[in-house]
């Protein structure tokens, strides 16, 4: 395989937060870097870049994924939702409102990923108890230790839905 044959860039078309996008990216670009660097959607964070922390959680076709561990080019044609697409300051998603009400964050760096993960959890098979929520949220880590209030926020939304 010769280096001169390699097509390093490619154009992809996908929908991000409801808006169609056509972007030319280096094939090595992660979905995370595409969202942050090319679309300036910096709500999604890079915590570890290796799928170990969950700060980069977004929805791809309705499912939560770690956007650092997938290539942008793999998602040609996909629908992506980031934290920016969930709600706005004037129109908070119920999960966002619950995080505020329950004081479910301190520094805020893991928070986008926590909220995106929690919203997806609402549509996944999850037992009613806190232990089940903790298990399904175990892919989102929080150095500030806001876990108790994160779980409370999620349970509050589940109770009210």
């Amino acid at each position: 395989m010769q280096a001169t044959e390699i097509q390093s860039e490619t154009t992809i078309k996908l929908t991000v937060n409801g808006a169609p996008q056509a972007i030319t990216v280096d094939v090595r670009t992660s979905l995370l870097d595409m969202l942050r660097e090319r679309l300036q959607l910096t709500g999604t964070k890079k915590g570890c870049d290796h799928g170990q922390c969950g700060a980069c959680t977004v929805h791809v076709n309705g499912r939560r994924v770690s956007s650092c561990l997938t290539l942008a080019v793999m998602h040609d044609g996909a629908e992506i939702t980031t934290i920016e697409g969930l709600g706005s300051p004037d129109n908070l998603h119920p999960m966002q409102a619950a995080f505020v009400a329950c004081d479910a964050y301190q520094c805020g760096y893991c928070t986008s990923g926590q909220i995106m993960s929690a919203v997806a959890l609402l549509k996944e098979p999850c037992g009613p108890d806190e232990a089940a929520v903790k298990e399904l949220m175990s892919g989102n880590i929080c150095r500030c230790g806001a876990y108790a209030n994160i779980v409370a926020a999620i349970q509050q939304v589940r109770k009210n839905t």
Partner: protein, 332 residues
């Protein structure tokens, strides 16, 4: 990250052809298939994997779970781990598989990772993952620094003087206990490989982890018909409650009649260089009363050849207790 050619072939034959013209499908492969990408991209970011071509197989028709004519199950290569774990037939008839998958990784990773990818996941050994370190698996002949280094998470079964890396998969341990068959489409046609023959011991060639040859594409996995009356448990012991690899795990599929074990299939995780089916433990249990004493005896047999590393001698007793307790839970 080294750059690469990214291709999306129209069908499996094209995918196979695109991957066939290279020297190896093992460590150092010039061409890699990508499905979930959760292992491949992790290793490409570390330059442990440096394929010149990456073949996206996500759009091939390999994403179904279907019954087989003999009453078993056919699981497509690109079925997401979460879909497999939550499938009603799997939860009803192959519960150990669902339990094992849900015990692994995180929800996000389970939504991305696939059946075939999980079969091919790589060791978490810190020396393998660090290109500044010698590693016989990554660069044959350079040595194994784990043997005299940080080896707490590494293997006690199936090791050699060249490599002690653990296979970290949970799914594979359950599939071993379920006697799964791996189906591969290759340059010379299709073949079926019992899971026990799919992964290789390190021996003197730790760079060779499976029997796959260049061009080989895993298309699906089949499970035999469910065993009527079987009780199934996957028990995973680890440093954290969740989102952590196993120190030791056990998958058991056991049938008991009139208080005696009539059939047992046992596999261990977290302790072997490959998913560790234990026919010795199964033989030790056959016809025995289904009680703690028999289970403990079988566990002793299962770990008889275990070789502790400098930091993980505790795994021997831990694995015995894990298997004993899994059997107790299954037959309670």
């Amino acid at each position: 990250m080294h750059t690469f050619e990214f291709v999306r072939p129209a069908d499996s034959a094209a995918a196979v052809a695109s991957a066939a013209q290279v020297k190896t499908a093992q460590q150092g492969a010039e061409v890699r298939f990508v499905a979930g990408g959760t292992t491949l991209l992790d290793l490409m970011k570390l330059s442990v994997e440096t394929p010149a071509r990456v073949i996206d197989i996500n759009r091939l028709p390999l994403d179904k779970i279907e019954a087989t004519p003999d009453g078993g199950l056919k699981i497509g290569a690109t079925v997401r781990n979460s879909d497999l774990a939550y499938h009603p037939t799997v939860q009803r008839d192959y519960a150990v598989l669902s339990q094992a998958i849900l015990a692994g990784a995180s929800a996000q990773l389970r939504n991305m990772a696939t059946t075939a990818g999980n079969l091919l996941q790589r060791t978490r050994c810190v020396y393998f993952r660090d290109t500044a370190m010698p590693c016989n698996k990554r660069e044959p002949g350079t040595g194994c620094p784990a043997i005299t280094g940080a080896n707490r998470m590494l293997a006690i079964l199936g090791t050699s003087e060249h490599c002690i890396a653990t296979n970290p998969s949970d799914m594979c341990v359950a599939m071993a206990a379920l006697e799964a068959t791996i189906h591969v489409q290759g340059a010379n046609g299709a073949r079926a490989i019992p899971i026990g023959d799919f992964h290789l011991l390190p021996g003197s060639t730790p760079n060779r982890e499976t029997v796959l040859e260049p061009g080989d594409l895993v298309t699906h996995v089949t499970l035999p018909p469910p065993i009527a009356g079987s009780r199934q448990v996957y028990l995973k012991l680890r440093d954290r409650t969740s989102y952590e690899f196993a120190l030791a795990s056990a998958a058991v599929v056991i049938t008991v009649s009139s208080g005696k074990v009539t059939r047992a299939r046992i596999a261990l995780g977290g302790v072997g260089t490959k998913p560790w089916r234990s026919p010795e433990a199964e033989a030790a249990l056959a016809g025995q009363p289904a009680n703690q004493a028999s289970f403990r005896k079988a566990a002793e047999v299962a770990l008889r050849d275990a070789k502790p590393q400098s930091e993980n001698a505790f795994k021997i007793e831990l694995a015995k207790r894990c298997l004993t307790y899994a059997l107790q839970l299954a037959t309670a």
